[in-house]
Each structure stands twice: as C-alpha cells, then as structure tokens.
C-alpha cells in the first residue's frame, strides 16, 4: 500500500520547521534518544535542513546553536519524554532444544570416530586401518596417524584462530586467504619433515623401510585430511566431517569388497577420496564465504608468526598429549605378550582398551560443547545487564554458572561411564567379533578401566580449556597442557618401563588430572576477574 504523502508531491510532509520549539525538541529526542549535550541536538538540527535564519524566524532563537541549547536545557528540565528501547528480543529457545542443538554440534566431532569404530567392527575396515592387517602395517599406520596428528595440530589451530579472527572482523576474503595460505605452508612443512625422518631412519635404521614408507604415506594423506577439516571447521560446517568419513568409508568398502583390493590399497583409495572430497567441500564453502581477490596486503610474517605462535604451540601440545601414552606403550617391551621386534610396535590389546574408553569422549563431547557455547553466549547479555559498580554480582553469577556446568558434566559422566561399560560388556558377548579374544584379556580391561577414568577427567579439563580459549587465554591453556604433557610422559614412561607396558595409560590419567587441576585453577582465577578477562579478549 502506498503512502499518500509520497504519491502526491504537493501534500505536506513531516517538516523540521514545526511551529513550536517544544515540538521540534520532542521530534529530536524521539530520533536520538538521550542527547549527550546541546551539540548533538545542533548537529541534528543542521541535518534536518534548518539554518540560523530558520532558528531566528521560526523559533526566535539567536541561531541554531542557541536553539539547540534551549532544547537541551528543556530536556534537562524534564520537559521531553524519552524512551530507550531495550535489547532486541531474541527468540526464546527451549533449554532442551538448545542443549540438543549444541550436543549435536559436539557430536559432529566425535561421530566420525564412532563411524570408524562401527565400520571396523561390522565390516573389518576403517578409512585408515583394517582388522585383517598384520601388525607390521598396523604399526606403520599408527605411526603415520600419530605423526600426522601431532605435526598438523599447531597448523590446525592457526588456520582456525586466525581465520575466525578475520571472520569476526568481517573480512571473510582475508579469512579465506590466510586459511588457504596457512594450509599450503602446513602441507609443505608436513612433506619437508619427511626428509629428516627418512634420513634418521637411513642412518640409524630403527624401523624397517616397509614400515617407514607405509607410515610416511599414511602420514601425508592423514595430514591433508586434518588440515582440510580445519578449513571445514573455519566455515562452520562440521557435519561435513561425518560426510567425508562416510563417503571415504564407502569407497574403502567398495574397493575391498567389490574389487578385492588389499587393505592398504583400499585405505589408499579411501584416503584419496576423503582428502579430495574434504578439500573440495572446504574450498567450495570458503569461496561462498568470500570470492577470492587478487590484491592482498599480508601482515608482516614475523608478527603473524608471533601472534599465532601461542595457538600453534597449544595445538601441537594438545594433540601430542592425546597420543603420548600410545607411543610410550608401544615403545616399551616390559610385560609385553607379543615380543615387539622393533622399537615401535602396535599392541592391539592396548589400542582396543583405549578405543573402548573413547565411548565416554564421544558421549561427553556434546555436553562440553554445550557448556562452552553457553559460557560464550551468556557473557555479553550479562555484561550488558549488570552495571560495573555491581561487578561482584556479575562474578558471582558467572561462578554459579560455572558450577552448574561442572555438575552437569559430572552427571553426564556417570551416564557416559555406564554406557561405556555397557558397550564393552555387549562386545564381550559377541563371540563372532574378530576382536573377541583381545577383548577378554586383562590388559585390555585394565587399559579400558584406567582410560575411561582418564578420559572423564580429561573432558572436565577440556571444558575448562574451551572456556579459557573463548576468552583468548591461550597462554594459560598452553602452559597447562605443556605441564600436563610432561606429567603424562614422565608418569607413563616410568610406569610402562617399571610395571607393565600397558601402565602407560596411567600417564594419561596423571596428565589428565594435572590438566584438569591446572585449568580449573586458571578458570577460578579468570572467573574472579571475568570483567577484565572479557575486556582483554580482543
């Protein structure tokens, strides 16, 4: 429907030149809310098209500034009504729906793991690895997998953190540019690191070439996959992790079952599919985020490296922490049943115990994601609501919120542990499973028990880590992870050499306890001055 004022050019329109100053004043107050002073009103008068001549002829003022001063004086006398609307009403979301949404986001990180595990148990194949592989190849894959995870950990953090920085700065094309540039640098580093690794093997011969070359191939292919996933994380399409895993698994199964490809060949096909698909999807979404531009002014490399170095360090240490115990276990011969022929030799019983314990990580990752999301989402509304002189109230509320999250995670942990035990018991009943014999060993059960507790403790630490990273307190996190890693290594090494190789898992537990303790202490400090930490997180 058209506005009659606009269709008839001769009809009167709202004019700044109202007959009385009070009407004009009210008009301005309605427009700007609370005026800071008379100058704000003067600026508005001018932009309404009023001139000194109008102020004199229509309002009896000396000039516009004089008219503005009169209006401001009147405002100070309370002669105008003013209304400042509150914050925009955000659509009310049921807490359950919100939890489920966040939980689903958290699951996108763990579901690929779960899918791999199910595929391995059901069909005997994963994207990397297969039940029928001999230990020599299994060891090579484990070595390649761990190396890829550790080497790319820092780059993944760099890609995500710097990319998100530019996304928040509303410079999406720069986010795309830095992410792809970091990706390409990372890939070169990944490949370059093969040179010293191969050289060391050539000089000292710690492992046979068949293992080293297979490990190198898996290392490169998996590194590309992790780096691609970092790009996917940047564009917030984490469900694509599951999609790429599923498609790659389908390719592996087709190659193995349909074309009788060897497990390594089937894995190779699956990894090429996973790498290509994930990169294609990442690039597609990055291009949707922002079209590439030819001219870019990159920041100074030294400063860029410096400003992202803490995130790099954190990423590398964090990924190292996750797999240290396996490396320690698989390089120890103490109490080992399978008499390792080389310095590094995969042990299925240990791996199986660790994999079963991962059930708690899968189930709790959504809870942790929800906690981190809510922590981040509730900060700004609380900061807007609470006056700075009432900061203690804000801090108390934040502490209470933190405690709630802690207890929620504790409750969920009980459920997760019960679920993990149930899964383990169910699998032990499945006599047809190829892993049946390994499942019933004491080693597997011991590793499972300790690792389950370790992972639960680790999830508490992870919840703290994510909250600290929300506030850009990466130096606190990196320090905590470094100490926890040291505890993990020392405890695991001593235990695995003095007691039993599988006691390396105690290192993981000790490290997780250290990480949970250190991050909880950091969180306590941060929550005690959350107003400052939120300010400094820019």
């Amino acid at each position: 429907m058209s506005n009659p004022q606009d269709t008839d050019p001769s009809s009167p329109r709202p004019s700044a030149l109202g007959p009385r100053p009070s009407e004009l004043g009210q008009q301005i107050i309605d427009l700007i809310g609370i005026p800071k002073d008379q100058w704000e009103i003067a600026a508005q008068l001018e932009v309404m098209g009023l001139r000194d001549a109008d102020a004199r002829s229509d309002y009896g003022s000396r000039d516009l500034f004089d008219l503005a001063r009169q209006i401001h004086d009147d405002f100070q006398q309370g002669r105008f009504r003013y209304e400042i609307e509150g914050e925009d009403v955000t659509p009310r979301v049921s807490p359950v729906v919100r939890f489920l949404k966040n939980y689903a986001t958290g699951l996108t990180f763990s579901l690929p793991m779960a899918l791999q595990a199910v595929a391995m148990l059901t069909w005997g194949y994963g994207v990397w690895g297969a039940i029928d592989m001999d230990l020599r190849i299994g060891s090579a894959i484990a070595l390649g997998f761990i190396a890829s995870y550790i080497v790319t950990g820092g780059f993944m953090q760099t890609i995500v953190r710097r990319g998100l920085f530019y996304v928040y700065q509303q410079e999406p094309w720069l986010a795309r540019w830095t992410a792809l540039r970091s990706w390409s640098i990372a890939l070169r580093v990944v490949i370059a690191l093969l040179v010293p690794a191969l050289a060391i093997n050539a000089i000292f011969h710690p492992l046979p070439w068949s293992i080293v070359l297979t490990a190198a191939a898996y290392y490169v292919a998996l590194s590309i996959l992790w780096l691609n996933w970092a790009l996917i994380y940047l564009v917030r399409k984490t469900w694509l992790f599951l999609l790429t895993t599923a498609v790659a698994l389908a390719a592996v199964l087709l190659a193995a079952k349909g074309f009788d490809a060897s497990p390594v060949m089937a894995n190779a096909i699956g990894l090429v599919v996973a790498d290509t698909l994930s990169f294609g999807l990442a690039l597609y979404h990055l291009n949707r985020l922002a079209a590439p531009r030819p001219v870019v002014k990159p920041p100074r490399l030294t400063i860029l490296v410096y400003s992202t170095s803490r995130f790099f360090l954190y990423g590398m240490l964090y990924n190292t922490f996750l797999f240290t115990d396996r490396v320690i276990a698989w390089t120890s011969s103490t109490g080992r049943e399978d008499f390792p022929p080389y310095g590094f030799w995969l042990n299925v019983r240990y791996e199986l115990g660790m994999d079963l314990a991962l059930v708690v990580v899968m189930l709790l990752s959504g809870v942790v994601e929800h906690a981190a999301q809510r922590f981040s989402e509730s900060l700004i509304p609380a900061e807007k609501r609470i006056k700075s002189i009432d900061a203690p109230q804000f801090l108390d509320a934040s502490r209470a919120e933190y405690r709630r999250r802690f207890f929620l995670l504790a409750g969920a942990s009980v459920v997760a542990v019960v679920a993990a035990i149930a899964v383990m018991l169910a699998l032990r009943q499945a006599t047809s499973l190829p892993i049946y014999s390994a499942l019933s060993t004491t080693t597997t059960m011991r590793v499972f028990a300790v690792a389950t507790v370790a992972y639960v403790v680790f999830m508490f630490a992870l919840q703290n880590v994510l909250m600290l990273l929300t506030l850009s307190r990466v130096e606190m996190v990196a320090r905590a992870v470094a100490i926890a890693l040291a505890v993990n290594i020392v405890t695991g090494f001593v235990a695995s050499r003095a007691i039993h190789y599988s006691a390396a898992v105690v290192g993981l537990l000790a490290g997780a306890i250290a990480l949970a303790f250190l991050t909880a202490r950091s969180m306590r400090g941060v929550l005690g001055e959350l107003d400052y930490h939120y300010y400094a997180a820019y």
Partner: protein
Amino acid sequence: MSLSVLMTTEGTYPYSAGGVSTWCDALLRNTPDVRWTLLPLMMNPHIEQKFDPPDNVRRILNVPLWGIEEPSEFSADIPFAQLYDRKRRTTAETIAAEFLPPFRELLHVICSDPGDSPTLGRIFVQFEDYFRIYDYNETFKSRPVWEAFRTEVEAYSQSLVERRKIPGPEHQLPSIFDLTECLRWLYHFLIVLNVRVPKTSVTHATAAAFCGIPCITAKVRHGTPMVLTEHGVYLREQYLFLSRFRRLFFCKQFLLNLITAVVRANYHYADIVAPVCHYNTRWEVAHATPQAKIRVIYNGVDPEQFAPSPKLHGEQHVVATARIDPLKDIETLLRIAARLKPTHPRVKFTVFGAVADEAYYRRCLTLRKRLGVEDTVTLGTATEDVAAAYRDADVVLLTSISEAFPYSVIEAMSCEKAVVASDVGGVGEALEGCGVLVKPRDDERFAAEVRALLDNHSLRLRLGAKARARVMEEFRLDHSIGRYLELYRGLGRAEGQGPRAEG
C-alpha cells in the same frame, strides 16, 4: 628552500573516493617541489587504494585502526627483535609506574575537561615516548589499565549521577559491557601514537580528528607548525554518527567526550585552521578556535578540465552528482521530478553517484516507483567523467541537507551551468548571485526554480556565465593550491624556532 610536509588523513586519501580525497590528490599532484609524507588512518589494512599518490610523496605511513591483532603488523620500520623486547619489558610494574599516571590524566581530560588541550597534547607526547619503549598491546590489554579505567570512569559517572537528575543512574552508570567497549575503542583510536613520524617543515591534518594527533605531537615536540583543514566538520559528523547509539548512552557520551577533546586539541595546536568555507567556522569558533587562526581557503577546480562545451543531446536534462546517501536527500530530488513531470514530461533527471547506503537506495527506488518517475529519473550510476556529466545538463541540481563546500557545485559552475542548490553549509558562499539557493527539503520551491530555468534559456545562459566568471575569479585550483603553498612557506620559515612550543 625545499619544503617537507606531513599530510595526515582519516578514512579518505588515498583509500576512498570523495571530495576530501580529490582535494588531497590535487594538492599533492600540484606541488611537485614539496616533499610529502603521507599518514593515512584507515579502517583496516586491507582496503584497496583508490588513488596512486604522485612521486613527490616520499613515504606513506599506513595506520590501520581495526582488522589487526598487533599494531605493528603493518609497520615495517621497527625490527621484530625490538618489538619483542618491548613486549618483554612491558610488565605490570612498568605500566603502573609509567603508563598509568598519564593514562589517568587522559581519562580526566576526556571525562571532565575535554577543553584542556595543553594537557592532552602533553599526554600524547608522553604516550608516544612510552610506546617507543613499551608494547602497545601488552599495555592496553593489561589488568592495571583495565582497573584504572574502571575506577576513573566509575567515579566520573557517579559524579554525573549526583549532578544531573536526567537521564538518571540507569543510563549514566556504565554497564560492564559499556566499559569494555569504551576501553577497546580507546585502544583502537590511539593506535596512531604507536607510529614514528619523521620530522617535517610543516604538518597538515586534513580533519580535526585522530589523524591530527601526530601533528599535535610534532608541534609539542619540535614546534613544527600545523595546518588544519576541515572539509566537513568532523565533530558534527561524529555527533551525527553516534546519535545512532540510542541504547548505549554511556558509550556515546564517552566517545563524544573523547572526540571533543581530540578535536579541540587539533584546534588548539593548529597554527592555521583553514576550513574550506566560512560556514564551517561556526563549529570551530564555538569550540574555542580563535578567529585570528582561521583562514578560509575555498576548494578550487581546474577550469580547463571543467570547461564550458556544447550540450550533447537535445532533450532537457537535470543532472545531480551525488552519492546515494540520506544526507544528499535524493528523495527531495525525486519529488521535484514528480512535480515537474506533468508540465515537463520529456525532462530527464540523472543522479550520477555511487550507492553509499544500500538501504537508502532501496527506499529511493520504492519512492521513485510510487511517484511514477521511474522513466524520468536515473539513479545510482557512478561516472568516471564528471565533466561530461555536467556537459549534458541544462540544470544542475543539489538537494543535500548537509554540505560543506561541495565540488559538485563549483565544477558545475565552472562548466557554465545554471545551478539550483539547497542553501546549506558553504553552498551559498559559492553560489550567491550566480545560481539559485533554496531552503533544503522544500521540493515545491525547488521544482518552481528548476521549472523557471528550464523554461528560460537566456536565464540559464546568464547564470552560467556569471558562475564561470566567479570560478575564474575565486575558485580556481591553482589559486587554492597557491594559498596552501603560501601557508606552508610562511609557517615553514618559522620551523625550528620554537622547541616544545605549548601551542
């Protein structure tokens, strides 16, 4: 004597188009004997250049205010090792001992006494000295700075609550979010203090804004003479911009206090305040600029480039060169076209100018449709050849509700065109006696004046000839450049005479 001049810009040259950038480019290009250093304050470091500065610009010191994690990301003049040393040196103790005292003074000036320009100038120099030894990021993001900021600002807002009943504590007392935002803004706006500026004969700030800070510190430090040109009125523009912060009254108040303090310091330390029209002087004088400092230098155009020439097409054509922006009041132009359509159905209107405000553009398109002038008015087309756009015009129209001294008016005058313009800003100073001035937003009067000119060829010719003569006499580019050179030379001679002059 060879002159060296530091020119500082903010959000304009060489990174965006518009009147200020056109003026800067003309000044730099037409002063080949001056050695220029250019210091542009820019929104972020990734904006593409719209202008290629000439060769006499020896150095460009880009200062991005946003889009960076470290202020040194885009400065190449300090080695990384030195920057790293600064970070290591910056501890809570050094911050408390060396940064907090001037920082508290700064907050006092911002909150309570924005007119204390001598103190502000001294604080800026202290900050510059401090940031040559210590790190900007580490300092601003430190706990002592946050605590000091919170304490000072809370005390200020409490005192306001006690003094003023309205608007009351609900709005006067800052929320934690208000404090966070304000200190983060301070961090960004003061980034320029992190830059090392070479010593020059004269400094020239192109706005009474944050870009004036290096000129102020050069004045305090070396006594370097400072010229300040105001194209628009920065303070007024900021008041208009921040009026949108309806819900964040405290932030608006804090930012406007900060901006007022910086603007007044610019006026205080400038040896010459050279606005582009007398109209601008109203705000300058009202903010403590002595009349004796003010020398209006009008913008100039190249009469060869904007020369009269025969009209290309037969149909009558009303032309406006204006970006699509609410301040240009394109809606009034549309109403003028609607009023003329019944009597002059063949007259075409064209607005040459890029879309600056997408929402406003859509509003204009809707209004154009409602008024039934879609086939009459063409909107939103930028042109590279402005002179050609004027050449095809019978009448040039300017409906702005806010202007300083617009190039569009003097360019049209130089092309010998009859101009109808709203009587705002310095437009009257250009057009008085050789064009038609109309009260802004009065589309009825505008339409009548345009109609009268379209119907009277000889009147158009007469006004056009007078306008051209006026340009030749008062608004020539070479005259304008000459006046700036005179200023530089006059002030440059005094260079070095007054160490650490206090303005």
